[in-house]
Amino acid sequence: MKKNIIYTLSVVAGLLFTMLSCNKFDYSEPDTSHDVYTQDKEATGCTTTLAQLKQNYRNLLQGQNGFQEVEDDIIFDGYVCANDITGNLYQSIYVRKIEKDDEGNTVDNTIVVGVNDNSLWTTYPVGTHVKVNLKDLYLGTYSYVPKVGMPYITSAGNTRLGGMAKFLAPKNIEVIGFNDKAPETVPIDIDASWLAQNKQDPNFMYQWTPTLVRVKNAEITGNYVNGARRTVFAVYDDKDAGNGVNDSIWIDQKPYCLRQSVLSSFSSETIPVGKVDVVVVLSRYSDWQFALRDIKDITPAEQQ
């Protein structure tokens, strides 16, 4: 009898050992097929358009640095055309909307939406359809560039428009869909004459900065450091107070500022030599200023 009990218990113990050794906790993969990131839909509940918003706050948005709190539900939609995927565009997404105005004209507007967070590109990849609610946020400009965010005080004591608190983003920037083929993801082609023509037009500026543009047959060069042109995009030791360096993008033999962050993931990459076609974000500082989203946006020029 006792032997049987021992035998039985030994078998039970062996089975227990085997079971616990083999048993794996299984985590099923979340189903994201229904996710907003795989499909797009019409934005509902918007109270305005990006074009109307800019028009309504025209005076504010033509200034260099200013902002105003928005207390009401002012909601517009748009597509993300640029983000911080490489860190070169810092704590920002660029929301763009191409739409018809009241007179049936096609208007194209982009605005910077600042968030005090990194890696926004994971939540807001290019092509993300978002609905931005300005309630309790601030609208204004940072160095002439229209922006949504919240103010902060610089180390010099100036109040500037920065990003919104990171945990506000899920509430104020609602993701409603995804379409990486949306026209808003396609840059507009510009050249030196386009830049020259629009350079001093304040009406133009508040609408067209920032803008995702493509420049053909451009050339990128590093700035001179110790008598020689830098061959990589940015070097930490060369950074200015804004953690950036100013390289040059040559368009029709004319140099423009190509602003690079020393903290971008491509800062150590070698600058391509020769003519290139490049997609960049156009904005303005004292003059036109360009910034790369990613070095993947640089391709050999189609026509030399």
Partner: protein
Amino acid sequence: MRKKRLLLLPLLAAPALLWAQTPVDSLAVEDEQDAEAFVVSDFDIDDESPTSQTANSVASFNDDLFLTKTNFRFGHSYYNPRHYDQGYRTTFVNGARINDVESGAFRFSSVFGGLSHASRNQQGITAYEQNGLNYTDIGGGSNVDVRASRFAAGSRLALSLTNRNYIGRLQFTHATGLTSKGWAFVLSAGGRYGEEGNAKGTYMKSAALFLGAERVFNDHHSLSLSLIASPTEQATSSWTTEEAYWLANSHYYNPFWGYQNGKKRSSRVRKTFEPTAFLTWDWKIDDRTKLTTTNIFRYAKYGQTYINRTNNAADPRPDYYHYMPSSVFKVYQVVPDEWQLHEWQNYVDYWRASEENRQINWDKMYMINHNSVAEGGEAVYFLEESHNDQLAWNFSTALNKVINKNYKLDLGLNLNHTTGMHYKTMADLLGSNYHTDIDRFASSDFGANSPEAQNDLDNPNRQIRKGDKFGYNYNIYVNKAQLWTTNTYVLDKFSLILSANVSGTTIQREGKMRNGRSPLHSKGHSETAKFLSGGAKYQLGYTFDAHSQINFGGGFEYRPPIANNAFIDPQIKNDFVKDLTNEFAFHLDLDYKFSYGRFDGMLKGYFTQFTNQVEQTQFFDDIKQKYSYLTMTGVEKEHYGAELALQYQFNTQFSVDFVGAIGEAKYMNNANAFITYDNADEVQWYDDIHGHDLQVITKGMRVGCTPLTALSLGAKYNISGWFFEARLNYYDRSYIYFSPYLRLSDVIPDVAPTLNEAGRYVYSITPDQLKYEGRTLLNLDGTVNRYVPKEQEKFKSAWMLDLSIGKFIRLHGGKSLSINLNLTNVTNNTNMVLRGREENRNDNTDKTGKTKQYDFGRNPKYAYAYPFNAFLNVNYRF
């Protein structure tokens, strides 16, 4: 230092005038052991209790009332006897040393976890005693006897229920005892399981199997083979900051887990599996001579998972410092403006809005990976598993010879060959298809397309799938040989135990990958570091009468560095730490034991001095933006203190006892410091770069996370098979693990003096600055006057009340049933900090060079003692 050592020499020499003998009247102690073993239960050795890393949590010490009382009683406070590192305590199995030669320590629970029956024949060993088994390190240790014949014939079935790391445990053991045919067999098997442990998001599942067979051939020879395996998978909990605990409103907040599809999933899962075989040959050569030879073959698999990410993805840890409200502005130093306050409140509201907000968001990581895959990309987030596997062979042979009635000789040889295998694998791609094997820090420094970014230059841009090795892959080879002897002389009232050992150790690394940051020094074999080590010790005893005895002990030891500290950046390079050499330990010990009727006691004093120690830490340097390795060499420490154990037996049913340990364990000098960065092929020593010596201002720092003061008052009562015990424990002077980086001579902020009217230096520093940051006090000419490092935090003292109730029921036919209930932290003290560590992070600037808002210096990470918990054990013998 030298002067102090000279002053102590008389302590070494004086006892030589004495001769001693007679160990103790151990009867009372043995009785105590039985009761102790009953009340303690099996819980303490196989649970992941703090002392489970060491073997002797329930080991009995025949001759040491203090250790017998304290080795389990203070366990939950992380009390380390004499505050030595685990590597100074030796664990033997059948007399063979089983400590891991890479780390120096032995993870008891990895081998014996869930098998308290198998490890029941455990004997504690003090540092100086003649044990006949092996040479013991200065921290003492224990020996586990797993020979099948040592298990009493019969069966045991044990069921345990608890609310700690697991919920239930079942264990069955059957032993035949030694049969008339000279065979003995033992089987023990069981398992532990807990869907969720005491902390949310933790779990444990563990199986355990022990098989033993022994053949006694004749009066002279026997051969024993024992096999043990205890595969365990456990989701662990984390230390975090007080701010995070405050936001989560619990000192048991665990940021390691999150919901996936509505189900809790941990990011830190530890898997251990150490199948081990013990083969022992006992040869009784004659009545006075015995030879014991043991081989241990151990294959250890140890893995731990972590979430990793590509360079430009957000950190998924919910308590990452960027996500804390105190990262908004310098909350301890400035009055916020309205926007900062608004943002801070926004962070607080987010943390408190729901539990999901403060846990890992698995679903989001999957969503991001799915997006990346849809765009033709790779994993943004993935779960990797770092492995520290080991294949070890330990050989031990010990000859015990009784030369005459006054003299015993023990001689032994230990051999060890260990291959440590260190690599990481892809545990889960979290919905993506592959990960490219490049280093994200180097990618940021040199560019993703640079050779430096490659972890394996021979297979550049390799696409890593689930189960693939990637990142790093290297072996560490350690060989050790040790000869030892113990000579025991007994003459009347005197006894003298003299022990000595000499050993040789080699350490070598073999890189399996040609790393892009060190293409010339990463792959292939390193040079071999060789160390000739050894030491000697003595214990001189004198027995005054049948009631009291005094012992003086002392010695020295040259110890090779452990392999884990031998390389400056073992994941990448073959380079050894600069000036690697033996460390030295000098130790003295004094104990006085007495037993007068109902009153027993023991008083001990000790002094240990360590020199030439090496300590190493790795961290991300915010300023340099580089992964860095900080090595301290020439570390000097002193450990000293007093230990007391008293016991009064009122009658056969009721006794009270007191044990206390008050000691010091502090750094005595400023250590030499070397920093290397893992992106440089040639080793760059910090002092080479900066042209001056670098130090870590360690002088006066304490060994971390062990209470230097531990006191306990206990009472026991038994009647009619019932056992009751209460223990009130008090802990104080436990210090945080300090950050060497924050105490680097070049990192401590400078302050220049002004002269007052009396011509004395005046420094403008606030008490808070000194406390949390430290200052380098300069002279007027800019030279260093004095370093005042950041204060090392002392945890608040704490009381803890534990109770035990047991009932022993003798059944007919020699069967018995014992029921035992242990209640720990009965008053539910949830504010007792057990452990904590400062972060090796700079407080001054962030990576952009801006003043950092988050204050690492004031946000160390803590772990709190478990709240009230219970352990019920029912044991049926038949």
